[in-house]
């Protein structure tokens, strides 16, 4: 089984890399070059597409706009989801299963029609065109997701850990912050990544709730492209660059992930 898995991994990585390689070659070629001929290795590589992005303030401001609401959203999601996931994993209470499932149903709303009421709701409370509006709207799916992922992992931590802390005379806040959260740091890392990821790539809500001052990168991408009649090269370069913040997140999360739960060190 293990050797099968290893081979699957190798082939899957090649499968992953080929379109990514194609994205990179597109980013290094001009538009007419991309549509004009097929070549595996670009014969006239150019950095013009990247230069276009770095010289145009619309692009890097949009980058900052995206980061501001994504970071805000991730922080809010983790902070409210941690206590909720803990109580779901440790107690039964009135309506717990229904609530747990209801949380997930919020991911299921097909966006096309829901966008209008979202716009009306956030306009009426004066949050339209602020990073907070997008951050709160994205909480609709990142918070339930965080609760679900964290609960899944926390349920795997035996409740003896809680009891041991109590016997050792630790207060609940000490137990929760100094023992329980460190045990679950792998889970928190995974959750953090998924919140960041879903908020970062979400397009429709972000487009609806932002105006000219807070336009995020995903929206600028669709607009710049349609204005100049689809410039594949610039779009590919922008696509390659949008991956960077997420990779930084994975880089910091990975060591908590591979350490696993490390129950022995409690």
């Amino acid at each position: 089984m293990t050797s099968v898995s290893r081979w699957v991994l190798v082939f899957y990585c090649i499968y992953l890399l080929l379109p990514l390689y194609w994205l990179m070659t597109m980013a290094l070629r001009t538009n007419s070059d991309i549509t004009g001929k097929f070549e595996v290795i670009p014969s006239n590589p150019t950095l013009a597409n990247f230069a276009e992005i770095f010289s145009n303030p619309v692009w890097y401001q949009a980058f900052g706009n995206s980061l501001s609401y994504v970071v805000l959203n991730t922080l809010i999601s983790i902070c409210v989801a941690l206590p909720a996931a803990y109580v779901f994993s440790r107690y039964r209470f009135l309506g717990d299963r229904q609530l747990f499932f209801w949380l997930l149903t919020n991911r299921m709303a097909p966006p096309a029609v829901f966008l209008l009421p979202f716009f009306q709701l956030y306009s009426s409370i004066g949050l339209f065109d602020t990073p907070l509006a997008v951050a709160l709207a994205h909480c609709l799916f990142t918070v339930p997701l965080s609760v679900w992922i964290l609960e899944g992992f926390m349920s795997g931590v035996p409740s003896e850990v809680d009891e041991m802390a109590k016997i050792d005379g630790h207060s609940f806040p000490y137990f929760f912050f100094r023992i329980f959260i460190p045990i679950n740091r792998g889970a928190i890392g995974v959750t953090l990544f998924f919140c960041f990821m879903f908020s970062w790539v979400e397009l429709l809500l972000a487009r609806t709730l932002t105006g000219s001052t807070t336009k995020p990168i995903v929206v600028v991408m669709t607009r710049t492209v349609s204005a100049s009649g689809l410039d594949w090269g610039v779009l590919a370069a922008a696509g390659a660059l949008t991956v960077v913040p997420g990779i930084i997140v994975v880089w910091f999360v990975r060591k908590h992930l591979v350490k696993g739960f490390a129950l022995g060190r409690v």
Binding site: A84, T105, A112, M221, T222, V250, L257
Partner: protein, 298 residues
């Protein structure tokens, strides 16, 4: 969720912040859409109550039924590939070392690319004149052309979705696998367990929770897929890859039929809800995974 947990209604204090923050964005828009769905809205000043007419009309619309059938087929296909593939990839990943970091980052990359760019990559990549995949397949002697052949369009969409989303299953499964205490593997080795038994009785119980999340996420998101097929095939050739979201978008945005589109949305929402509810309940009522774990340790 485990069964032998103490009953304590004070636990509500812990979930209250989550409830408030989610309800804020959830309840009002949903109610507004339900409200639209029972009215004929000519403009915002002249609207008439029509009851359940839009619902009846949507459920009898042959184009809705076709799109629904295609949607179910698509979701089942990608789930059937992505879940087993994701588990295998996660098991293949080394548990520590430099390669782990490199591979984790590689897996994360497709998830971080904006969806319209994912569609664009595959649109070019699969083109039979200028794309690596398209040209490559034609070199192998297959007359591959996803813009004219419906089957090829389908296969390209599924290949794209597998490329885009298997990582989600793999990353969640990997996180689940790292939570298996090494002692369990040692115990299994001492007992002379086969590789399949190790997977079934040592790894699966730990994976159960995250796999439920992975299946539900992929079920919901594949059922609502919009941006990528919109960019890649535009629903074509013909209507071959027009899924529910795309049909809905032409109604809501293209024709501005707010009432019927709202009824469509509510039906759409209820179907996803139903599928997830069936899956969730069948998993939660089925406690055999926990039993197996207990039996193994006896």
């Amino acid at each position: 969720m485990a069964i032998n947990k103490p009953y304590n209604n004070r636990a509500w204090l812990g979930v209250l912040p989550v409830l408030l923050i989610v309800a804020f964005s959830a309840v009002i828009p949903l109610m507004t859409v339900v409200n639209y769905s029972i009215q004929d809205i000519l403009d915002f000043n002249s609207r008439f109550y029509v009851g359940l007419d839009w619902y009846r009309e949507t459920l009898q619309d042959p184009r809705f039924i076709d799109a629904f059938g295609r949607q179910v087929l698509f979701s089942l296909s990608v789930l059937a590939i992505e879940i087993p593939l994701g588990i295998l990839v996660a098991r293949g990943l080394p548990k520590s070392g430099a390669w782990t970091s490199v591979l984790l980052i590689l897996l994360a990359v497709p998830l971080l690319i904006p969806w319209n760019v994912v569609g664009t990559i595959w649109q070019i990549y699969a083109r039979s004149d200028i794309g690596l995949l398209g040209v490559g397949l034609n070199e192998l002697g297959l007359a591959f052309n996803y813009t004219s052949n419906p089957t090829h369009a389908w296969l390209t969409l599924i290949a794209m979705d597998v490329w885009h989303w298997t990582s989600l299953v793999a990353l969640l499964s990997f996180a689940g696998l790292t939570s298996v205490p090494p002692a369990y593997y040692q115990a299994a080795e001492l007992d002379g367990a086969s590789k399949w038994q190790v997977f079934r009785y040592v790894e699966m119980p730990r994976l159960g929770g995250v796999l439920v999340i992975a299946v539900l996420l992929r079920l919901m998101d594949s059922f609502m897929i919009y941006t990528e097929p919109f960019v890649l095939t535009g629903g074509g050739p013909g209507n071959a890859t027009t899924f529910l979201s795309q049909y809905l978008a032409t109604m809501a945005v293209g024709q501005f039929d707010l009432g019927p589109a709202a009824a469509f949305s509510v039906i759409y929402f209820l179907f996803i809800l139903l599928f997830c509810w069936i899956f969730y309940n069948s998993v939660m009522l089925d406690n055999t995974v926990g039993d197996n774990e207990a039996r193994y340790h006896d």
